[in-house]
C-alpha cells in the first residue's frame, strides 16, 4: 500500500532568501499518528503548508496517497484536511455557516449530521450560531479544526492544534483525534508540547534548521537516547562531577541535578560510589521525548 504521505528532497527558499527547508525526506504510513517537532523557525509550518499546497515548493516531490501534488492538485487537496498555524476565520459567518460552506467546497451537499457531531465533539455546540468574530481564541482554534474535518479527510494535518486551548478542552480534543485515528484517519501534527507528542504519536520527526534531525518511532528514540537525568540530595557539599555529566549544583552544593551519558555510566556510578556516604536521596529518570528533543536541537540545559 502506498503511504499516506511521501516527501522526497523537499526544499523551500522563500522570496526573501530564507532557506526554510533544505532537502527533507519523510514518509508517513497509512493510519499513522505522526508528530513533527522542532524549535521555532525549524520549518514545520513550511513543510505542512507545502503539503496543503498553500505555499509553493522550490524543489522536491510530495505525494499524498500515491498521488503527486503537482499532477493531481485537486484530488490530493480533497484527500487531506489542514489547519494553518495562524487562525483566520470569515467574519461574515456564524460557526455553523462556516462549516456548511466548508463542506460545500468539498462537494458535500448536506453535511448537517456530521457538522452537528463535530460541533458536539469539539465543544462548539453552544456557540454554533455565534459569529466567528465573537469566539474566544481557543474556540476559534477548535473551529479551524472542525473545518479541517468537515469532509472527513483520510489525512488530517494540524499545525499546532492545541496552542491556546485550555487543559480540559485539550484533553477532549485529543480524545477526539485519537478516535479519528482509531477509525483509520492518518494524523500529522506539530506541537511545542513535547509530552503531548510523546503520549500520542507513534512516530516523530524532529526538524532542525530545515532538515530532519531525527525520525523514528517514539519508543525507539527514547530507547536509544544516550543520556539520563539525575538528581542527588546530599548531606554535605561535593564538587560537581566533571566530564561524564553535565548540570549544576544547587542549595550550596547539597543538591546536584544534571544528565550523564549512558555510555559513561561506569564513571558516573563509581563517582557515585565514592560519595555514597553523603547521599540522602538519588533519582534517575526515564528519558523523556523532551530530552531527546533538546539534545537534537542543541538546546539542552
Amino acid at each position: 500500500m502506498t503511504p499516506a504521505l511521501t516527501i522526497v528532497g523537499l526544499a523551500k527558499r522563500y522570496q526573501n532568501g530564507a532557506d526554510a527547508l533544505q532537502g527533507v525526506d519523510l514518509e508517513v504510513g497509512r493510519g499513522e499518528f505522526f508528530a513533527i517537532l522542532g524549535p521555532n523557525g525549524a520549518g514545520k509550518s513550511t513543510l505542512i503548508n507545502i503539503v496543503a499546497q498553500v505555499v509553493t515548493k522550490s524543489s522536491g516531490h510530495v505525494t499524498v496517497f500515491g498521488l503527486s501534488i503537482d499532477k493531481h492538485p485537486q484530488r490530493t487537496r480533497m484527500l487531506l484536511g489542514f489547519t494553518p498555524q495562524e487562525i483566520a476565520l470569515d467574519p461574515f459567518f456564524s460557526v455553523r455557516e462556516v462549516l456548511r460552506h466548508h463542506s460545500g467546497y468539498y462537494g458535500i451537499t448536506d453535511n448537517r449530521a456530521w457538522i452537528d457531531e463535530l460541533l458536539e465533539r469539539l465543544d462548539l455546540a453552544p456557540h454554533a450560531d455565534k459569529n466567528s468574530k465573537a469566539l474566544s481564541g481557543g474556540m476559534r482554534r477548535r473551529l479551524t479544526i472542525a473545518k479541517a474535518l468537515a469532509h472527513k479527510p483520510r489525512l488530517l494535518i494540524l499545525d499546532e492544534p492545541t496552542a491556546g486551548v485550555d487543559v480540559a478542552l485539550r484533553h477532549s480534543l485529543w480524545a477526539f483525534v485519537r478516535e479519528l485515528h482509531r477509525n483509520g484517519t492518518t494524523i500529522i501534527l506539530t506541537t511545542h508540547y513535547i509530552e503531548e507528542a510523546q503520549e500520542l504519536a507513534e512516530r516523530v520527526a524532529i526538524l532542525r534548521a530545515g532538515q530532519v534531525a531525527a525520525c523514528d518511532r517514539t519508543n525507539a528514540l527514547l530507547a536509544s537516547f544516550g543520556y539520563r537525568r539525575f538528581a542527588i540530595e546530599l548531606r554535605a557539599a561535593v564538587p560537581f562531577p566533571a566530564g561524564f555529566a553535565s548540570g549544576s549544583t544547587e542549595a550550596q552544593g547539597r543538591r546536584i541535578v544534571g544528565e550523564f551519558a549512558v555510555g559513561r555510566g561506569q564513571e558516573f556510578f563509581s563517582w557515585l560510589g565514592g560519595i555514597a556516604d553523603k547521599v540522602v536521596d538519588l533519582r534517575i529518570d526515564q528519558p523523556r521525548l523532551e530530552d531527546v528533543f533538546l539534545h537534537l536541537t542543541g538546546k539542552q540545559t
Binding site: A52, V54, A88, Y105, G107, T109, K147
Partner: protein, 255 residues
C-alpha cells in the same frame, strides 16, 4: 469535477455582499437618486437634447446603471480578495480548497456579476420613477450588462491579487477606474464635447461597454455594436485566462 464546490464558493461570495446589503446594494441606489436630483431638478433642463431625440435624463439613465454595475462588480471581487489577504484567510479558505483555478475565477466572477446585475436592476428601477423610458433591446441590455460586470469583476479580482493592502485597491479604484468611468460616456455623449475632443472617448475601453449598454436600453448608440461586442467578449476571455494563470502560479497569493 467538483461542481458543487464551485457553487459553494460562488454562494459564499454572494452571501458576503448580501450580508451587508445596505452598503453593497443600498448605497448605489441612494447615489443614483442623488444624481437624478442634481441633474434632473437642477441641471438637466439646461443641458437639453442628448442626440437621437433623447432628453439628457434619458441619456443619463443607462450611464448611471452602467457606472453602478462597473463599480460594484469591481468592488465585490477586489474587496473580497484583499479582505481575505488582510485577515489571513487565503490559506484555509481559498488556496487549500479542492477547486481548480478556472473554478475559483468562475465563482468570484459570477458573484460579481450577480452583484452588478442587482445594482443595475435597482438603478434602472429607481430611474423609472424620474424618467420615462422603455427597454429597446432586452437581450443586448442583459448581455452587455453581464459582460460589463464580468469584465470588472475580473479587473477587481486581478487588483485584489496584485494589491498588498486596502490602500492599493483604493488607488486603482480612485485613480484608474473612476476617471475612466467618468470619462467613458456615463455623463455625456461625444457630440457634447468640444470639436477637438470628440474622438478622445474612443480610446477608453469603458466607453464601448457603456455605449453597448445604452444601445440595449435606448436603442441607439454612438458606435457600431457588432465590433464592440466581439472586442469586449475577447477582453473578458483574456482577463479570465490571465486571472486563471495567476491563480495557478499563486502569484502574490502563495509565498
Amino acid at each position: 469535477m467538483n461542481w458543487y464546490g464551485n457553487w459553494a464558493l460562488f454562494r459564499r461570495e454572494c452571501q458576503r455582499f448580501l450580508r451587508v446589503w445596505l452598503q453593497t446594494l443600498g448605497a448605489p441606489l441612494i447615489s443614483a437618486m442623488l444624481y437624478f436630483a442634481i441633474f434632473g431638478a437642477a441641471l438637466g433642463q439646461r443641458i437639453g437634447d442628448a442626440g437621437h431625440g433623447f432628453s439628457y435624463l434619458q441619456f443619463l439613465v443607462p450611464g448611471l446603471a452602467a457606472m453602478g454595475i462597473i463599480q460594484h462588480a469591481f468592488q465585490n471581487t477586489s474587496s473580497s480578495l484583499i479582505q481575505m489577504k488582510y485577515l489571513g484567510m487565503l490559506q484555509a479558505d481559498l488556496l487549500a480548497l479542492p477547486l481548480n483555478p478556472a473554478q475559483i475565477v468562475l465563482a468570484f466572477t459570477a458573484a460579481a456579476m450577480v452583484r452588478g446585475a442587482l445594482v443595475g436592476i435597482g438603478i434602472l428601477a429607481i430611474s423609472r420613477l424620474f424618467v420615462e423610458f422603455t427597454i429597446a433591446d432586452p437581450p443586448l441590455l442583459i448581455g452587455s450588462a453581464l459582460i460589463m460586470a464580468a469584465i470588472f469583476g475580473l479587473v477587481g479580482l486581478l487588483t485584489g491579487i496584485w494589491a498588498k493592502n486596502f490602500d492599493q485597491v483604493a488607488l486603482v479604484g480612485n485613480f484608474i477606474l473612476t476617471p475612466m468611468v467618468y470619462l467613458g460616456g456615463v455623463f455625456f455623449a461625444n457630440s457634447m464635447l468640444p470639436a477637438g475632443w470628440q474622438k478622445a472617448p474612443l480610446l477608453n475601453p469603458i466607453f464601448y461597454l457603456v455605449d453597448l449598454f445604452r444601445r440595449g436600453l435606448l436603442g441607439a448608440g454612438q458606435t457600431p455594436p457588432e465590433g464592440a461586442l466581439i472586442a469586449v467578449s475577447l477582453v473578458m476571455a483574456a482577463l479570465f485566462i490571465v486571472a486563471m494563470l495567476l491563480f495557478r502560479l499563486g502569484w502574490r497569493l502563495k509565498s
